[in-house]
């Protein structure tokens, strides 16, 4: 099968859906001729014109609001938010308006929009351009949250998001845009709320979101050398969350590590770990270990930034301790 980059995969997904449905349009800063700073949307304006690939002023709250209004009146906007950190600017339109409109209107209105943005540190972009803020959005009822972990997922989840009748936020990992994966030429969709088991294992379940999937896969490979069999799961969407697949795995392996690039405190690892601990309680042989990003603003200096993110080595180390039956937090 052909391999394409995550960037191409997103581009294809958007192009295909724009061809399929004329109510779909793209709006954001420098999405047209410039194709975004990450060049993800290059070529779309040539095919669909400036009427459907719309460059905006630097007014995130404003164009997010426009998208909500357009979605309420029958369009399917894809909003391009250049950095995930700018979510803080659109929170009111996203969380007070888009997320609640269907409910507040008693089901009369709905807001089918996609907010595509990114996450991920270690790009030397400092504290305001490196955050992974998906947990904030996942806390809000009425929003769905997808986190593609490869080009394959990026395409399938994007297409599903565009067809969804509700607001969906997609977080791409900005360091993965050039990473290639096998992507079928034929159309496919990835349903929301279906985790993917990337590797089956017996001894420990590693759950990794977005690029932490790769970290978990690398850890699993290391563990294999030690004779430890790790199951690796990518939730793909954290809201809805495929609890069944995760619990099923943990009940089998009896041990779990949750890895995510958002801050650890009050983050995604908390939700997943809490659910496992509660609902697989009688099956667990060891505490569920959480590995989020450090609870510090992301530092610029490479010497510091690299320390803030979970690594495969540390995941493997924790897994070894779990499997060895070491009494973690036993005091």
């Amino acid at each position: 099968m052909r391999s394409i980059t995550l960037s191409q995969a997103v581009n294809e997904a958007i192009a295909e859906e724009m061809r399929r449905d004329e109510t779909v349009f793209l709006i954001g800063e420098d999405v047209a001729e410039a194709g975004t700073p990450f060049k993800v949307t290059s070529g779309l304006v040539e095919e669909f014109g400036t009427g459907r690939v719309i460059d905006t002023p630097i007014a995130e709250q404003g164009f997010m609001g426009l998208a909500v209004g357009a979605a309420m009146t029958g369009a399917r906007p894809i909003v391009d938010l250049m950095f995930g950190d700018f979510l803080f600017l659109v929170m009111d339109q996203l969380c007070n308006q888009a997320a609640k409109t269907h409910y507040m209107s008693g089901g009369k209105l709905n807001v089918p929009l996609v907010l595509r943005t990114n996450l991920g540190a270690t790009r030397r972009s400092a504290a305001q351009h490196s955050q992974s803020l998906h947990a904030l959005v996942a806390h809000i009822p009425g929003l769905k949250v997808a986190m593609p972990s490869s080009a394959y997922e990026a395409k399938g989840l994007m297409k599903t998001a565009i067809r969804d009748d509700n607001p969906v936020v997609i977080f791409e990992d900005k360091l993965m845009y050039q990473d290639k994966a096998e992507v079928p030429e034929d159309e496919y969709l990835i349903p929301f709320g279906e985790a993917k088991v990337l590797r089956e294992g017996r001894d420990v379940t590693l759950i990794g979101t977005s690029s932490m999937r790769q970290v978990c896969e690398a850890a699993a490979a290391m563990l294999e050398a030690d004779g430890i069999s790790a199951e690796v799961i990518d939730p793909r969407t954290i809201s809805p969350l495929d609890e069944a697949t995760i619990l099923g795995s943990v009940k089998k392996t009896t041990r779990a590590i949750v890895v995510d690039e958002g801050h650890q405190n009050f983050g995604t690892t908390a939700e997943i770990a809490a659910r496992i601990s509660e609902k697989a309680f009688y099956h667990l042989d060891a505490p569920v270990i959480r590995m989020g990003a450090m609870d510090v603003p992301i530092p610029f200096s490479p010497a510091l930034e690299d320390l803030t993110v979970p690594t495969a080595e540390k995941v493997a180390e924790n897994a070894r301790r779990l499997v060895a039956g070491e009494l973690i937090h036993a005091l």
């Binding site: 209004g69 357009a70 979605a71 008693g106």
Partner: protein, 327 residues
């Protein structure tokens, strides 16, 4: 008074709609005073000529966005009393099945995209609705209602910029009732409100918001021009709210005088002014108007009775409508 709508039926329709708003609000206030309404609500009484003058210039397919003080817009855009009172009381038959309440009330089928409890929160929605109309090639116009206080929200400038750049068919209707909660507009708005729109190259007008014909004439003109792609436009409507900021705001002499309130109520009441004009022009007799008023008030009373007796939504509805999932 200026002339806009040109036949008797239109005039009486405007008059009736203003009276309907007033009747709705009088009942809403009474429901609050009788402790029969959950929560609080913000009364539109005194501002009727704004909503009616504007909405009578619109078609059903045109859109509006509304505010926390949204009953007037909702009635003016064509909503029925029964579903409105049901909504106000949190009943299943309300327009939003009781989930929205006063601050989210809307007759969606008439193009009302919803009241909004975030001041200024609907400005993007209105502008996006206009963007959608333009993309579709329809000639629908969207009117964005908001108060003088909302002009302090940055969102307004973000979306006016885009509306102006892209010539969107949206009309920003600023209801300047002189107050933002408990504070005079002068104390919270520097410079000139219309100048703020003009700075973005948006044509802006100021109009007497108590004169329904003036409002209607100006709006009719601007709506037509907006349909032709000459928008966006901005209107500042000078008006006044008779009640407190919300129904619970009873003692308000610390921020405005009783004399000021009396002055507006007696000399500048939009319903009285228009009624006087209708009779002086011979369009209707005083008896006609009285009978119309009586009919409307009866209709409102009946709707209240109905709504009070209507059932609440079933508890199972609590987690319905979080997402739209077609099957």
């Amino acid at each position: 008074m200026a002339d806009a709508k040109t036949n008797t039926e239109d005039y009486l329709q405007m008059y009736r709609q203003m009276v309907r708003i007033r009747a709705f609000e009088d009942n809403a206030n009474q429901l609050y005073l009788d402790a029969k309404m959950p929560g609080l609500t913000h009364m539109y009484s005194g501002e009727e000529a704004v909503a009616v003058g504007i909405c009578e210039a619109l078609e059903v397919t045109d859109k509006i966005t509304s505010t926390h003080r949204g009953h007037g817009h909702c009635v003016a855009k064509g909503a029925a009393f029964k579903e409105m009172f049901c909504e106000l009381l949190g009943k299943e038959e309300g327009y939003c099945r009781g989930k929205g309440g006063s601050m989210h009330i809307a007759d969606q089928s008439n193009g009302n995209l919803g009241a909004n409890a975030i001041v200024g929160g609907s400005m993007g929605i209105a502008t996006g609705s206009a963007l959608r109309a333009k993309m579709q090639g329809s000639d629908d116009v969207t009117v964005c209602f908001f108060g003088d206080g909302a002009t302090a929200q940055g969102l307004m400038y973000e979306v006016m910029n885009m509306a102006a750049l892209w010539k969107l068919p949206v009309i920003y209707a600023c209801e300047n009732n002189g107050y933002s909660e408990y504070t005079k507009t002068d104390e919270i708005a520097a410079g000139e409100i219309t100048a703020r729109a003009e700075a973005f190259g948006i044509e802006a007008h100021q109009v007497d918001g108590q004169d329904v014909l003036a409002v209607n004439k100006l709006t009719t003109d601007l709506v037509q021009r907006a349909r032709k792609g000459e928008g966006p436009f901005f209107i500042e409507l000078m008006t006044y709210r008779y009640h407190g900021h919300h129904v619970g705001d009873i003692n308000r002499t610390y921020y405005r005088t009783k004399d000021e309130e009396a002055e507006w109520k007696t000399k500048r009441d939009p319903i009285k002014l228009f009624g006087d004009w209708l009779t002086s022009e011979g369009i209707a007799s005083e008896d006609d108007l009285a009978a119309l008023g009586e009919g409307v008030r009866q209709e409102a009373a009946d709707a209240v009775t109905y709504a009070l007796a209507a059932p609440y939504p079933d508890g199972s509805e609590v987690d319905m409508h979080v997402f739209l999932e077609k099957t």
